[in-house]
Amino acid sequence: MTNTVTDLTPITALGGTVARTEVCGALTISENTGLGLASLSLRAGQDTPAPFGLALPDVAKAVSMGNYAAFWTGRGQWMIEATGKAEMDFAAMLKAEVPECSVTEQTDGFTAFEIASSQGAGPIEALMNKLVNIDAKTFGPGQATRTGLEHMTVFLIRRAEDRLAVIGMRTLAGSLWHALAVAARRLED
Protein backbone atom coordinates (compact mmCIF):
# COMPACT_ATOMS: atom_id res chain seq x y z
CA MET A 1 0.00 0.00 0.00
CA THR A 2 1.36 3.38 -0.90
CA ASN A 3 0.90 6.32 1.40
CA THR A 4 -0.58 9.43 -0.09
CA VAL A 5 -1.11 12.83 1.42
CA THR A 6 -4.74 11.90 2.05
CA ASP A 7 -3.74 9.03 4.38
CA LEU A 8 -4.00 11.28 7.41
CA THR A 9 -4.75 9.95 10.86
CA PRO A 10 -7.35 11.92 12.78
CA ILE A 11 -6.42 12.53 16.42
CA THR A 12 -8.46 13.63 19.40
CA ALA A 13 -7.95 16.81 21.42
CA LEU A 14 -5.65 14.80 23.71
CA GLY A 15 -3.63 13.57 20.75
CA GLY A 16 -4.81 9.94 20.76
CA THR A 17 -6.39 7.98 17.95
CA VAL A 18 -9.22 6.94 20.27
CA ALA A 19 -10.94 8.82 23.09
CA ARG A 20 -9.13 8.60 26.42
CA THR A 21 -10.80 7.13 29.51
CA GLU A 22 -9.42 6.84 33.01
CA VAL A 23 -10.96 5.22 36.06
CA CYS A 24 -10.03 6.88 39.35
CA GLY A 25 -11.79 5.01 42.16
CA ALA A 26 -15.48 5.82 41.94
CA LEU A 27 -14.96 8.35 39.14
CA THR A 28 -14.53 7.63 35.45
CA ILE A 29 -13.31 10.48 33.26
CA SER A 30 -13.91 10.14 29.51
CA GLU A 31 -12.98 12.31 26.59
CA ASN A 32 -16.18 12.98 24.64
CA THR A 33 -14.84 13.29 21.11
CA GLY A 34 -18.25 13.09 19.45
CA LEU A 35 -19.81 16.22 20.93
CA GLY A 36 -20.72 18.87 18.37
CA LEU A 37 -20.96 22.40 19.74
CA ALA A 38 -22.29 25.66 18.37
CA SER A 39 -23.20 28.88 20.14
CA LEU A 40 -26.45 30.71 19.59
CA SER A 41 -26.92 34.44 20.33
CA LEU A 42 -30.05 36.51 20.03
CA ARG A 43 -29.88 39.83 18.27
CA ALA A 44 -31.56 42.87 19.84
CA GLY A 45 -35.28 42.44 20.39
CA GLN A 46 -35.46 38.80 19.26
CA ASP A 47 -37.65 36.24 20.98
CA THR A 48 -36.09 33.03 22.25
CA PRO A 49 -36.30 30.34 19.54
CA ALA A 50 -36.59 26.57 20.10
CA PRO A 51 -33.91 24.92 17.92
CA PHE A 52 -34.42 21.14 17.53
CA GLY A 53 -37.43 21.54 19.84
CA LEU A 54 -35.22 22.52 22.80
CA ALA A 55 -36.76 24.93 25.30
CA LEU A 56 -33.68 27.14 25.75
CA PRO A 57 -32.96 27.36 29.49
CA ASP A 58 -32.85 30.36 31.81
CA VAL A 59 -29.84 31.68 33.75
CA ALA A 60 -27.30 29.01 34.78
CA LYS A 61 -29.49 26.11 33.61
CA ALA A 62 -29.11 23.27 31.11
CA VAL A 63 -31.68 21.17 29.26
CA SER A 64 -31.40 18.09 27.07
CA MET A 65 -33.69 16.22 24.73
CA GLY A 66 -32.59 13.18 22.73
CA ASN A 67 -29.28 13.88 21.01
CA TYR A 68 -29.47 17.63 21.62
CA ALA A 69 -28.83 19.74 24.68
CA ALA A 70 -28.40 23.41 25.51
CA PHE A 71 -26.96 25.40 28.37
CA TRP A 72 -27.10 29.10 29.23
CA THR A 73 -23.83 30.99 28.75
CA GLY A 74 -24.92 34.64 29.07
CA ARG A 75 -27.92 36.88 28.56
CA GLY A 76 -29.50 35.88 25.24
CA GLN A 77 -26.71 33.36 24.63
CA TRP A 78 -26.59 29.58 24.75
CA MET A 79 -24.27 26.76 23.78
CA ILE A 80 -26.04 23.99 21.87
CA GLU A 81 -24.64 20.45 22.18
CA ALA A 82 -25.22 17.62 19.71
CA THR A 83 -24.18 14.07 20.59
CA GLY A 84 -22.20 12.35 17.84
CA LYS A 85 -22.11 15.38 15.52
CA ALA A 86 -18.53 16.57 16.08
CA GLU A 87 -17.52 15.52 12.58
CA MET A 88 -20.41 17.24 10.86
CA ASP A 89 -21.02 20.91 10.22
CA PHE A 90 -23.25 21.20 13.25
CA ALA A 91 -23.20 25.02 13.19
CA ALA A 92 -24.80 24.93 9.72
CA MET A 93 -27.47 22.54 11.02
CA LEU A 94 -28.21 24.91 13.90
CA LYS A 95 -28.22 27.96 11.61
CA ALA A 96 -30.83 26.22 9.46
CA GLU A 97 -33.00 25.89 12.58
CA VAL A 98 -32.60 29.53 13.65
CA PRO A 99 -31.69 31.53 10.52
CA GLU A 100 -32.48 34.86 12.22
CA CYS A 101 -30.04 34.34 15.16
CA SER A 102 -26.25 34.51 15.31
CA VAL A 103 -24.65 31.06 15.25
CA THR A 104 -20.94 30.30 15.67
CA GLU A 105 -19.13 26.99 15.31
CA GLN A 106 -17.55 25.95 18.66
CA THR A 107 -16.65 22.25 18.24
CA ASP A 108 -13.09 23.09 17.21
CA GLY A 109 -12.64 25.54 20.09
CA PHE A 110 -13.60 23.30 22.98
CA THR A 111 -13.17 19.79 24.26
CA ALA A 112 -15.59 17.94 26.50
CA PHE A 113 -14.71 15.62 29.36
CA GLU A 114 -17.49 13.59 30.95
CA ILE A 115 -17.12 12.53 34.57
CA ALA A 116 -19.31 9.71 35.85
CA SER A 117 -19.52 8.45 39.42
CA SER A 118 -20.33 4.87 40.37
CA GLN A 119 -21.19 5.95 43.92
CA GLY A 120 -23.80 8.66 43.43
CA ALA A 121 -23.35 12.39 43.95
CA GLY A 122 -20.70 12.20 46.71
CA PRO A 123 -17.54 11.75 44.60
CA ILE A 124 -18.72 14.34 42.01
CA GLU A 125 -19.26 16.92 44.75
CA ALA A 126 -15.95 16.05 46.42
CA LEU A 127 -14.17 16.61 43.10
CA MET A 128 -15.94 19.93 42.56
CA ASN A 129 -15.02 21.05 46.07
CA LYS A 130 -11.36 20.43 45.25
CA LEU A 131 -11.33 22.15 41.86
CA VAL A 132 -13.84 25.00 41.58
CA ASN A 133 -15.21 27.74 43.80
CA ILE A 134 -18.82 26.82 43.05
CA ASP A 135 -21.12 25.45 45.75
CA ALA A 136 -21.43 21.78 44.72
CA LYS A 137 -24.49 21.28 46.98
CA THR A 138 -26.55 23.85 45.08
CA PHE A 139 -25.13 22.81 41.69
CA GLY A 140 -27.66 20.04 41.12
CA PRO A 141 -28.82 18.24 37.97
CA GLY A 142 -29.79 20.73 35.27
CA GLN A 143 -27.36 23.43 36.49
CA ALA A 144 -24.64 24.80 34.21
CA THR A 145 -22.10 27.55 34.70
CA ARG A 146 -18.83 28.92 33.46
CA THR A 147 -16.04 29.33 35.99
CA GLY A 148 -12.27 29.12 36.46
CA LEU A 149 -10.51 25.79 37.05
CA GLU A 150 -6.74 26.02 37.68
CA HIS A 151 -6.70 29.35 35.81
CA MET A 152 -8.50 27.85 32.80
CA THR A 153 -12.00 28.89 31.88
CA VAL A 154 -14.43 25.95 31.78
CA PHE A 155 -18.13 25.25 31.43
CA LEU A 156 -19.54 22.87 34.03
CA ILE A 157 -22.77 21.02 33.35
CA ARG A 158 -24.34 18.80 35.98
CA ARG A 159 -25.95 16.28 33.65
CA ALA A 160 -27.24 14.13 36.53
CA GLU A 161 -26.59 13.55 40.24
CA ASP A 162 -23.75 11.23 39.31
CA ARG A 163 -22.54 12.94 36.13
CA LEU A 164 -20.65 16.16 35.47
CA ALA A 165 -19.41 17.47 32.13
CA VAL A 166 -16.39 19.78 31.99
CA ILE A 167 -15.99 21.63 28.69
CA GLY A 168 -12.72 23.51 28.36
CA MET A 169 -10.57 25.13 25.72
CA ARG A 170 -9.33 22.58 23.20
CA THR A 171 -5.76 23.89 23.18
CA LEU A 172 -5.60 23.29 26.94
CA ALA A 173 -7.10 19.77 26.77
CA GLY A 174 -3.95 18.13 28.18
CA SER A 175 -3.72 20.52 31.14
CA LEU A 176 -7.42 20.22 31.89
CA TRP A 177 -7.29 16.42 31.78
CA HIS A 178 -4.26 16.49 34.08
CA ALA A 179 -6.06 18.76 36.57
CA LEU A 180 -9.17 16.55 36.62
CA ALA A 181 -7.34 13.22 36.73
CA VAL A 182 -4.88 14.23 39.47
CA ALA A 183 -7.69 15.60 41.66
CA ALA A 184 -9.80 12.47 41.03
CA ARG A 185 -6.90 10.12 41.85
CA ARG A 186 -6.23 11.97 45.09
CA LEU A 187 -9.85 11.50 46.18
CA GLU A 188 -9.05 7.80 46.48
CA ASP A 189 -6.45 8.44 49.21
Binding site: V59, A60, W72, T73, G74, R75, N133, T145, R146, T147, G148, T153
Partner: protein, 93 residues
Protein backbone atom coordinates in the same frame (compact mmCIF):
# COMPACT_ATOMS: atom_id res chain seq x y z
CA UNK B 1 -13.70 38.28 48.07
CA UNK B 2 -17.13 37.48 46.65
CA UNK B 3 -19.06 39.62 44.19
CA UNK B 4 -22.87 39.42 44.27
CA UNK B 5 -23.58 38.95 40.56
CA UNK B 6 -27.14 40.12 39.81
CA UNK B 7 -27.89 36.98 37.76
CA UNK B 8 -25.55 34.32 39.13
CA UNK B 9 -25.34 35.10 42.84
CA UNK B 10 -22.13 35.21 44.88
CA UNK B 11 -19.10 34.55 42.69
CA UNK B 12 -15.37 34.43 43.39
CA UNK B 13 -13.74 37.77 42.50
CA UNK B 14 -10.97 35.81 40.74
CA UNK B 15 -13.48 35.14 37.94
CA UNK B 16 -13.58 38.89 37.24
CA UNK B 17 -11.24 41.44 35.77
CA UNK B 18 -11.28 45.06 36.87
CA UNK B 19 -11.46 48.06 34.56
CA UNK B 20 -11.95 51.18 36.68
CA UNK B 21 -14.33 54.06 37.38
CA UNK B 22 -17.88 53.33 36.21
CA UNK B 23 -18.06 56.83 34.71
CA UNK B 24 -15.97 55.46 31.82
CA UNK B 25 -19.29 54.21 30.44
CA UNK B 26 -20.32 57.78 29.78
CA UNK B 27 -18.18 58.87 26.87
CA UNK B 28 -18.41 62.56 25.95
CA UNK B 29 -20.09 63.66 22.73
CA UNK B 30 -17.32 64.04 20.14
CA UNK B 31 -19.44 66.50 18.14
CA UNK B 32 -19.96 68.89 21.05
CA UNK B 33 -18.26 72.29 21.05
CA UNK B 34 -16.28 71.57 24.24
CA UNK B 35 -15.35 68.05 23.09
CA UNK B 36 -11.60 68.56 23.48
CA UNK B 37 -11.86 69.64 27.12
CA UNK B 38 -14.50 66.99 27.85
CA UNK B 39 -12.29 64.23 26.40
CA UNK B 40 -9.29 65.57 28.31
CA UNK B 41 -11.25 65.11 31.54
CA UNK B 42 -12.67 61.75 30.39
CA UNK B 43 -9.25 60.30 29.55
CA UNK B 44 -7.04 61.78 32.28
CA UNK B 45 -9.10 62.90 35.26
CA UNK B 46 -10.26 60.35 37.85
CA UNK B 47 -11.79 60.77 41.25
CA UNK B 48 -9.87 58.76 43.81
CA UNK B 49 -12.29 58.57 46.72
CA UNK B 50 -11.47 57.06 50.09
CA UNK B 51 -14.85 55.44 50.59
CA UNK B 52 -17.69 54.40 48.31
CA UNK B 53 -16.65 53.96 44.67
CA UNK B 54 -18.59 52.71 41.64
CA UNK B 55 -16.41 50.71 39.27
CA UNK B 56 -16.58 48.43 36.22
CA UNK B 57 -15.82 44.72 36.57
CA UNK B 58 -15.93 42.16 33.74
CA UNK B 59 -17.09 38.60 34.49
CA UNK B 60 -14.46 37.08 32.26
CA UNK B 61 -14.58 33.51 33.58
CA UNK B 62 -18.35 33.60 33.81
CA UNK B 63 -21.18 34.99 31.73
CA UNK B 64 -18.96 37.69 30.17
CA UNK B 65 -21.15 40.49 31.48
CA UNK B 66 -19.93 43.91 32.60
CA UNK B 67 -20.99 44.86 36.11
CA UNK B 68 -21.05 48.13 38.00
CA UNK B 69 -19.77 47.14 41.44
CA UNK B 70 -20.12 49.54 44.36
CA UNK B 71 -17.19 49.07 46.71
CA UNK B 72 -15.86 50.84 49.78
CA UNK B 73 -12.18 51.46 48.97
CA UNK B 74 -11.26 51.78 52.65
CA UNK B 75 -12.74 48.45 53.79
CA UNK B 76 -13.07 46.56 50.46
CA UNK B 77 -16.68 45.87 51.41
CA UNK B 78 -18.80 45.21 48.30
CA UNK B 79 -22.02 47.15 48.68
CA UNK B 80 -23.78 46.01 45.52
CA UNK B 81 -23.51 45.03 41.88
CA UNK B 82 -25.67 45.82 38.85
CA UNK B 83 -25.49 44.84 35.20
CA UNK B 84 -23.70 47.68 33.40
CA UNK B 85 -26.04 47.32 30.42
CA UNK B 86 -29.00 48.08 32.71
CA UNK B 87 -27.18 51.05 34.26
CA UNK B 88 -26.46 52.44 30.81
CA UNK B 89 -30.04 51.91 29.61
CA UNK B 90 -31.36 53.50 32.81
CA UNK B 91 -29.09 56.53 32.29
CA UNK B 92 -30.24 56.91 28.69
CA UNK B 93 -33.92 57.13 29.67
Amino acid sequence: MLIPHPLLGLRDSQEFTYLGDANLMFRPDAAAENAEAAFCDYVFQRDNPAGVHRELWFHEQGDRSWLVVTRDTTTHEILGAELASNVKLGAAE
